[in-house]
Symmetry: C2
Subunit: 197 residues, 2 copies
């Protein structure tokens, strides 16, 4: 056993990083279906054998490559629920406009529709994306800023719903005016008086 505790061979780190980077690249370009081990190997310069040394299967690699998507969005704290929600929604809209993963998500949703493994991935991803909304909403609730019968699930549906709809279904531009209207409407029927103009 030359296994010495927690140290990881530099070569392993290098290989894994290169493979994950290229996997993510292919993922953004072609969705889940666009990722093949052969191609990852070709582009990353890491041989296929090595890839299979580090991941037991294509699916495992995909899951790990997706795990970085949509992580650690900042949770704003402007003092009011309204301000927080505006900030979060605009951040989400910006991501939907430009982030690489915005093009990948439909293929994950599709895969989750039938593959149970990928359904787990989808659930994680969804939780990660919506976590800030949950935080902000709970905070508002304890301050009594929110109608009693409305929870985080209602907030995310009211805000993320129209945004997602625009991005993937109607494919109209996510302009600032639309985003503003969505937030204001949401605040309105959530029983919140808008504190900004």
């Amino acid at each position: 056993m030359t296994r010495s505790g927690d140290f990881v061979d530099v070569r392993v780190q290098r290989s894994k990083a290169a493979v994950l980077a290229q996997t993510y690249e292919l993922l953004s370009a072609g969705g889940i279906g666009g990722v093949s081990i052969d191609e990852v190997s070709r582009r990353s310069g890491v041989s296929k054998t090595t890839i299979y040394r580090h991941w037991p299967s294509r699916a495992a690699l995909l899951v790990e490559a997706c795990s970085t998507i949509g992580s650690a969005p900042p949770v704003p704290d402007t003092g009011s629920f309204g301000g927080d929600l505006v900030a979060l929604t605009e951040a989400l809209a910006e991501q939907l406009r430009s982030a690489r993963w915005a093009a990948v998500l439909p293929s994950i949703v599709d895969a989750a529709e039938r593959d149970p493994d990928l359904a787990g991935l989808h659930a994680d991803l969804h939780a990660r994306l919506m976590a800030p909304f949950d935080v902000v909403t709970e905070r508002a609730r304890t301050r009594g800023e929110l109608a009693a019968d409305r929870g985080p699930a209602d907030v995310t549906a009211a805000v993320a719903g129209p945004l997602f709809y625009r991005r993937w279904f109607s494919r109209e531009p996510l302009d600032a005016a639309f985003v503003t209207r969505v937030v204001e409407d949401a605040l309105g029927h959530l029983g919140v008086q808008d504190s900004s103009t």
Copy 2:
């Protein structure tokens, strides 16, 4: 030329029908990626050669098979915008819960994200699904029931957005209470006074 005008050989009708039926079957089960000509041929009993006699390519077959999705939803006319919208939204929710194509749509959205041909299909489909909302909204507008700065696009985003979000992203059940809340909220901020209780 025995070509006699509009008559179509019975055999052709039979073959095409069988192929389209099985294509749709595979489509619902496995999305776009789940349809292979070999499998369609195997299940339909129609030989691959024949399939290619009627469709120039796999893509053409897919487009035709999808063309029946979400067609001819009834346009209600309850007399008020509120009533119409409730009816339409409940119908949409029911479709999302049970219709076969609800499992297919994500793969179409995904495909549309990169393949221009399929993007056309996606656009058609979207237009077909949302047409009733447009009709109802325009009707309301001419009757002055709607705030001046709100158009059909806003109505569909406000209503279909949260529903789609629930169905595909948060994967929570589309229960009646949720649907009702969505419609009421939408009516509220569209400048409509709810005529029902």
